[in-house]
Symmetry: C2
């Protein structure tokens, strides 16, 4: 006779149980900084070099010794001799060693003999970028577990960090199973169902920072599913079997997990999402997702996303909440958390 | 003598002028649906097939003719003969042609002789998924200019759409220019500046949906910059020259744009961001970005992002706004929009 659901555990409890017993490994890999957009740092990164690494002109103009310009005014214009008393500089040029200030080109009148005439004194260190103005060697640039944004890449490169230690994306193997499943592009017959769930699951996993790998379709056959599950656990960090997670005659997911590892629970008190199997296969976390698309995706979000977020040191994003008044009564079974699709409107001020 | 800024045009006006004269081409390409996550549809996609494509069992149990079950009750259990009066079905199985309802396995008592005993009648079409319950052939699945999310991929595949027409990512060529620039990994000398801007610009462009290509560093040399700009305009949809956009002695960006196309404006009334050049090169939109990082990124966001969003048919995301009280006076020049970095706090209820 058929096995009934072993459990009917509330969703948050199921999740706590699973997270406490199943974790994804944190592996570190080193990648080129300019290819690290969106990756999560494995440790804090510190500047290796200062930026700028030398006193630099911050404006196009002339570099001078400020002292020499004191007293210049509208009434008493001052003329500086080229090379001896000033050097032309462009933004970013190193300041000549004897100089300590830059006068902007707009404030200079160049005379036919090459002299630069100024009408105001220069303040020492004006328009000079000191060493390390942007980044000082040894300074913290990004902390650990930080998701790298475009400007972070710039700060890292400015600080001489051309390679960065990031957390490896956990590798998730998706096993589509069901004798009725066919690849989405193949001709359909009555009883055949295109496997579109795998593409959706893979897309969510990618968005969440994991690396999904979809295996070939496995028919409802205990031996074949066992072999596929063992291979998946050897290859990946987490195994997702979709579907066969229910308690039907040919639902082998829980049985395979039992044989190759441990079933932590089978059946969550939520609708949709109830026929979920959580456990391990050969020591790797494993999830049996329901076949119905919405059930599968909710279950994925509830149980797989926190593992990925945890592995990448990220707080789990929360769904937006909205308090609303129900337009009609919604009745649900005792002890079951029901997820109901709604249309939200704003009617008569409510 | 040096050229002064041609313009000092308010940012929003500069942007309107540029957008009205420079647009990125909309090209359509066909990609596999399961690889189309995040891409933007070029046209509406309609279901080619219905899903399910046949009457399907929605539960594990038995398929029956509902009529035959009328009258079954606790008091009058009804026994159905295998094959003749019921057929065992699993979720997703095609409904046998003579059947019109499914009874869940939980509601059946199987007798030793194989008969299925039920205590309640089946309502016609209960637990049956009609043809097209999820997707009906010909139905709209996603509209044009829709950024594809994970569940959209599932709906497309369910509807038999295995390839989808999407907008090509506009190709943006980045030309880093400056005699002082060196690749970020090379040893630094006084006067050399690592080119980290290119990595940041490329990262922003990727995030916004474009395809960035960074060319080699071009020194401050008119002929070399002209050659690089002409090659970039031939290869890409948009050319970004960084930097040389100011009015210094060796700032050739505006001049090259003038020679190979048109300078729409040079100088924006914003700080940072002022030394921006907007125009075209060989008919392609071209932007000369300032060298200072924050200036460069703001200018990129102001002038390049709207072109990319427009090309991909997306509304341009707005920055979040926050009304706050200034902790100290901020003075700025007349006619210049000044962007000042702030720390926001909540002090004494304000």
């Amino acid at each position: 006779m058929q096995k009934v659901y072993l459990n009917n555990i509330p969703r948050h409890e199921a999740r706590r149980l699973f997270i406490s017993r199943a974790a994804l490994p944190r592996r570190v890999e080193t990648v080129a900084t300019d290819g690290a957009l969106g990756r999560v740092t494995a440790k804090a990164a510190f500047a290796r070099l200062s930026m700028p690494g030398y006193q630099a002109a911050a404006m196009d103009g002339i570099a001078v010794r400020a002292e020499r310009t004191f007293g210049a005014s509208d009434q008493a214009p001052l003329q500086l001799a080229p090379e001896e008393e000033y050097r032309a500089v462009d933004t970013g040029d190193p300041l000549p060693p004897e100089c300590d200030a830059v006068i902007k080109v707009e404030e200079i009148q160049f005379l036919p003999g090459g002299e630069a005439e100024i009408l105001a004194p220069a303040v020492p260190w004006q328009h000079v970028r000191p060493v390390g103005e942007d980044v000082v060697a040894g300074e913290l640039i990004v902390p650990a577990y930080h998701r790298l944004r475009p400007a972070d890449l710039g700060a890292l490169l400015a600080g001489g960090v051309t390679e960065v230690a990031v957390l490896a994306r956990p590798k998730v193997i998706i096993i589509p199973t069901g004798t009725e499943l066919i690849p989405p592009g193949e001709p359909r017959r009555p009883g055949s169902i295109p496997d579109f769930n795998s593409a959706v699951i893979a897309a969510y996993l990618s968005e969440w920072g994991a690396e999904p790998v979809t295996g070939g379709i496995v028919p409802d056959n205990l031996e074949r599913l066992r072999a596929a599950a063992a291979a998946a656990a050897a290859e990946g960090d987490l195994v997702i079997i979709n579907a066969g997670s229910s308690a039907g005659r040919e639902d082998y997911t829980a049985r395979v997990m039992e044989e190759l590892g441990e079933v932590l629970l089978h059946g969550v008190a939520a609708r949709p999402g109830k026929p979920t199997v959580l456990g391990t296969i050969a020591g790797k976390p494993a999830v049996g997702l329901p076949g119905y698309p919405v059930s599968a995706y909710l279950s994925l979000e509830w149980f797989v996303r926190p593992l990925i977020s945890g592995c990448l040191g990220q707080p789990e994003p929360e769904r937006e909440r909205l308090a609303a008044e129900l337009g009609r009564r919604v009745v649900s079974e005792m002890g079951v958390e029901e997820h109901v699709r709604m249309t939200v409107g704003f009617v008569g001020g409510r």
